[in-house]
Amino acid sequence: MNSLTLGNYYPGNSLLHKIDPRIKLSLSLVFMIGIFFLDKPLSLGVYALGILVLILISRIDALTILKQVRPVIFFSIFAFIINIFSVPGDVLARLGPLQITREGLITGFLMMSRLILLVIGSSLLMTLTTTSLLLADSIESLLSPLKVVKVPVHDIAMMISIALRFIPTLADEADKIMKAQSARGANYDTGKFFDRIKGMVTILIPLFVSAIKRAEDLAVAMESRCYRGDMERTKYKPLKLQTRDIVFLIVALLFMTGVLLIQFLL
C-alpha cells in the first residue's frame, strides 16, 4: 500500500525543479493537449527528443522515469496489439484468421509512444519535480482570475491540498481495516459474486465512517488555528516569476509550435 505512487516527488536541485510551478503546470497542459494532434512519426520523434532534453535537465535517473510508465505499460501494449490486428491495410503476416497490417503496426506503435510520452512528460513537469504543496499553490494562483466571477479559488486549492495530503493516510487505513477484517475471517479474493460484495462492504463502511470523523476533527483543528479561508492570509514562500521562468516558458512554447508546424506542414 505504501507503493501508492501519487505526488512521488523526486527531491533535487535541477533547473526543472526550480522553475516556477505555475509555468510547469501550464506547460504540461499545453504539452498534453499538443500530443493529441501528433500522429506522424517525425513530429512525435521531435517531441520525444524534447522530452529527452527535459529528462536530462531534471537529472532524474532513468529507473525513476521508467517507474512512472509502469501503470500504463500493460494497457499501452494491449492497445498496440488490438491496433495491429484491427486496422485494415497492407497485410504483412497472417496468424490464422488474424492479419497483421503495416498500417496497424504504425498506428499501434504511434498510439503506444504517444501514451508513454504523455505520462513521462506530465510526471516530469509536475509530480516528479514539484511538491504537491507547490502544485496546489500554483493551481490557486493560476485560477485566481476566476475570483472575479466568484469562483472559490482558494477553497478549491485547499480541498486539493487536503485530498493529496490524506490519500496516503486513508490508503493506510483501508489496509489496516482489511487486515483487521481478514483476521476476523473476511475473505476478499475468492468466492462467489455476492461474497465479494460482502467483503467490499466490510472494508468500505469503516473507511467511509472514519473519513467523515476525520473531516470533523480536521475542521476543529483548522478552526483552532484560526483558519478563515483566504481572508488576509499570507504565504511563507510567495510564488514570484523570474527571468529564467519566462525564458523557459518561451523556449518550451517555441518548441511546441515547432513540433506542431512539423506535424501540419511537412
Binding site: L4, I82, M159, I162, A163, I167, A174, E216, G229
Partner: protein, 219 residues
C-alpha cells in the same frame, strides 16, 4: 448576537463544509486509485463503487457539492479510459481510438454528464423520500439505490443512443443484439452497484448522523 460571533459562526460552518468535501474528494480519489476498492470485476465491464462517495456527499452536503464530486467522478472516468483503455473505452473518452472505433463529444457527455446529475438527483430523492417515510436512514439507503439505478440507466442509455453500433462492434455482437447486451450490463452491474450503494449509504448515514449530532451539541 454581535457582528464578530456571527462571523465566526459562519466561518466555522464554512470550514466544516470545506473539510467534509475534501474528505469525500479524498475517498473518491482513493477508490479511483486503488483498484480493489473502486472496482468489482464482473465480466468485461467492472461494477464500480465510485458513485458511493458522490451519493453520500450529496445527501450530507446538498446538490451543489454532490454535483461537484460527480464532476470529479466523471473526470476520473475520463482519465481512466484515456490512459488505461479497454475495448469499450471509446464510449467514455473522446481521445481513444481502438480498432477504428473512435470516441467523440458524446463520450465526454457519457463520462461526465450522468455523474454530475447523479449528485443532484441523489439529494432531491433523499429529501423527497425523507419527507415521505420519515426515516432519514432508510430514505438515504433508498435514495442511494434509486439514484444509482438512474445513473446506470443514463450511462447505458446514452451508450445505446450515441454508440449503439460501435458498441456492438467492440463487443463483437450483432447490432440487433446490442439492446440485450446493454440490458444485461444494467441487470448485472447495475444491480450489483445498487445493492452495494444502498447498504453502504444506509449504514454510513445511520452511524455518522449519530456522532455528527453529538459534536454539534458539544460545540
Amino acid at each position: 448576537m454581535s457582528e464578530v460571533s456571527k462571523n465566526s459562526l459562519s466561518t466555522r460552518e464554512k470550514t466544516r463544509k470545506l473539510t467534509m468535501f475534501s474528505m469525500f474528494l479524498t475517498l473518491e480519489l482513493l477508490l479511483f486509485l486503488v483498484p480493489y476498492l473502486g472496482y468489482i470485476p464482473v465480466g468485461p465491464i467492472n461494477a464500480t463503487t465510485l458513485h458511493i462517495p458522490v451519493i453520500l456527499c450529496a445527501i450530507f452536503m446538498g446538490p451543489a457539492y454532490g454535483a461537484g464530486l460527480g464532476f470529479v467522478f466523471g473526470l476520473s472516468s475520463l482519465l481512466k479510459n484515456t490512459f488505461m483503455p479497454t475495448i469499450t473505452s471509446f464510449v467514455f473518452s473522446p481521445f481513444v481510438e481502438i480498432g477504428g472505433l473512435k470516441g467523440n463529444g458524446w463520450s465526454l457527455w457519457i463520462a461526465i454528464g450522468p455523474r454530475i446529475l447523479l449528485g443532484v438527483i441523489a439529494y432531491y430523492l433523499f429529501v423527497a423520500l425523507a419527507k415521505a417515510i420519515k426515516k432519514p436512514g432508510l430514505a438515504a439507503g433508498l435514495a442511494a439505490a434509486l439514484s444509482t439505478f438512474i445513473h446506470t440507466l443514463m450511462v447505458m442509455g446514452s451508450i445505446y443512443l450515441f454508440f449503439g453500433k460501435e458498441y456492438a462492434q467492440a463487443r463483437q455482437v450483432a447490432e440487433s443484439a446490442v439492446l440485450g447486451l446493454i440490458g444485461g450490463v444494467i441487470a448485472v452491474n447495475g444491480v450489483a452497484e445498487l445493492i452495494v450503494s444502498a447498504i453502504l449509504v444506509f449504514v454510513v448515514y445511520q452511524v455518522s448522523k449519530g456522532f455528527m449530532k453529538k459534536r454539534k451539541t458539544n460545540a
